[in-house]
Amino acid sequence: MAQTLYDKIWDNHVVYSDDSSDLSLLYIDRHYVHEVTSPQAFDGLRINRRRVRRPDLTFATVDHNVPTTDRSLPIIDQISSLQIKALENNCKEFGIPLFDIHNKYQGIVHVIGPELGLTLPGSTIVCGDSHTSTHGAFGSLAFGIGTSEVEHVLATQCLWLKKSKNFEIILHGGLKNNNGVSSKDVILNIIRKIGTSGGSGSVIEYKGDYISSLSMEKRMTICNMSIEGGARAGLVAPDNTTFEYLRDKVFSPKNESFEQLLDDWKDLRSDHGAKYDRTFSINIDNLAPQVTWGTNPAMTVDVDAVIPSPDEYAKGNDEEKKSAIKALKYMDLKPGIQITDIPIDRVFIGSCTNARLEDLIEASEAVKGKKVSSNVKAMVVPGSQQVKLAAEHLGLDEIFINAGFEWREPGCSMCLGMNPDILKAGERCASTSNRNFEGRQGTGGRTHLVSPIMAAAAAIAGKFVDVREWI
């Protein structure tokens, strides 16, 4: 029977199926671990005198609450420091490789997995973080898990899973005549259309000419935010772009073993005639840059539009209308306001959605030779040490610093504000991250999600601008 890519990866990893239930035991090829969702899992192992079954398939880094300021100084936040220390001790005790705070490969877990060649096509990948969906850009089945599951994978290298539905999203067209529009705008637009629960219970496979035309970095941005559309994971079938990206990465297989894998990887695509539970098509010719106005990523409009009224947004759904009213109040916005009239206080260019080299290059194009508006505090937080190094090699740090941006050390930073990088109550931020939930970037902070170039341009202008007219 014709199978989808998801069906194939699933079948390939079933260790055991229990006929009396919908659950199967799946083997996990890669387990990424970070400091926030793991301490309780390691405790569980110790209490039950269990070991880590495959430390060689487990990789750890610190990202969520590391400071992004000078790394030679001690960490001021004692509790963060304890959590970081706990991970170091746990990795030592259980023999897990760790990219610690001083390591040259340290970075946001979803940035380093791919760039180091640990994330490979056809594999199963989990991490105690919902944006693990990022790795699906390589045609791997990758999804976030809770801490109990982290413990389960550490102990068994397997997980009990119920098979998700197959959801196909076909992206037609290309971004013609719209300079400055990127894959971030595409995924925001998709979430706006399918809603934050549109992908619930599903694994989304992104297809179509547009996806094939994208670089790996841009595909990662799309897969990263699949979870914001409610999906468990996002997938893109691997192709030459994928293979070329992986060749020569630090830890990717080398020489003959790479060539051998390549043969297998080439079969990783959905069969002709494979059945999907749902299909959604979208034409992205002429797509405008997107800006969120509310407190979930589906509350999004075109940059040249106005804030919708709760009725327009809700289209007859009472719950959504209530959510929109609550969101407008929280965001201190009113229907009818032009997006490009909204002034901002902060700009954050960073996160596992948009802090890779290409993102920083694009953002720098809007900044070169200009100055950050005097009302705005702006910062760039590269996704990893390697991204930072490469960016500095290109002189991007100078472009940003000369314009008045802060140039920081890698970590999650203001994506979730577990470290000192937070918004003050009432501050409004143009952010390249993935969540605009209430208080996400700091209690009372107001987040507008945008692409890197939109965020950079907003920093200069002090308000949102339509980058299509700007560059």
Partner: protein, 202 residues
Amino acid sequence: MEPFRNLISKIVPLDIANIDTDQIIPKQFLKLLGKTGYGEYLFFNWRYDDHGIPTKNFVLNLSEFKGRQILLTRENFGIGSSREHAVWALKDYGFKVIIGVSFADIFYNNCFKNGVLVIRLDKNIIEDFFSSKTDEEFEIDLSHQQIRINSSSYSFEIDPTLKDSLENGTDEISKTLQLESQIKKYEDKKNLTIPPGTPPIL
């Protein structure tokens, strides 16, 4: 894990859709190293004002809802971050059952791993609970998969394995470790789709 026992309680009606885990437990409380002690921070930003004083109108602060063990919510509860701290906070606060129209996948799984029963019901039933059942005793009967309220009863669906693990408080890891020979067989035969990573030399 403690086995789930049938229970009788009134509900706490939390009439908001699309509640994300950042609201259930804000990130500043994710730095603890244990699994308990999160209850006092549950819904922190809605429950307390800027000075740490309990807000007047939030349901958790209303005296008539204190001590209730069932949370009633609407669509799409638990979206966003995978943080299991959200479940630890709900559980630590005293919730044993969460009833709603729909739940985010990761959150749903996390609940069962911690012995919290999640019940999905039709939108109209939930609407009825909100409008006319906030002062009724709910009897939650897991083995018969039923909620009984006065003379009415409502059936719910649950995966047999999840039900079994709740009823017996099964330690899932022990159960999986009993399949050691299968796991080993898989590892041996595979041709692991990818070769094991070379542990980086650090």
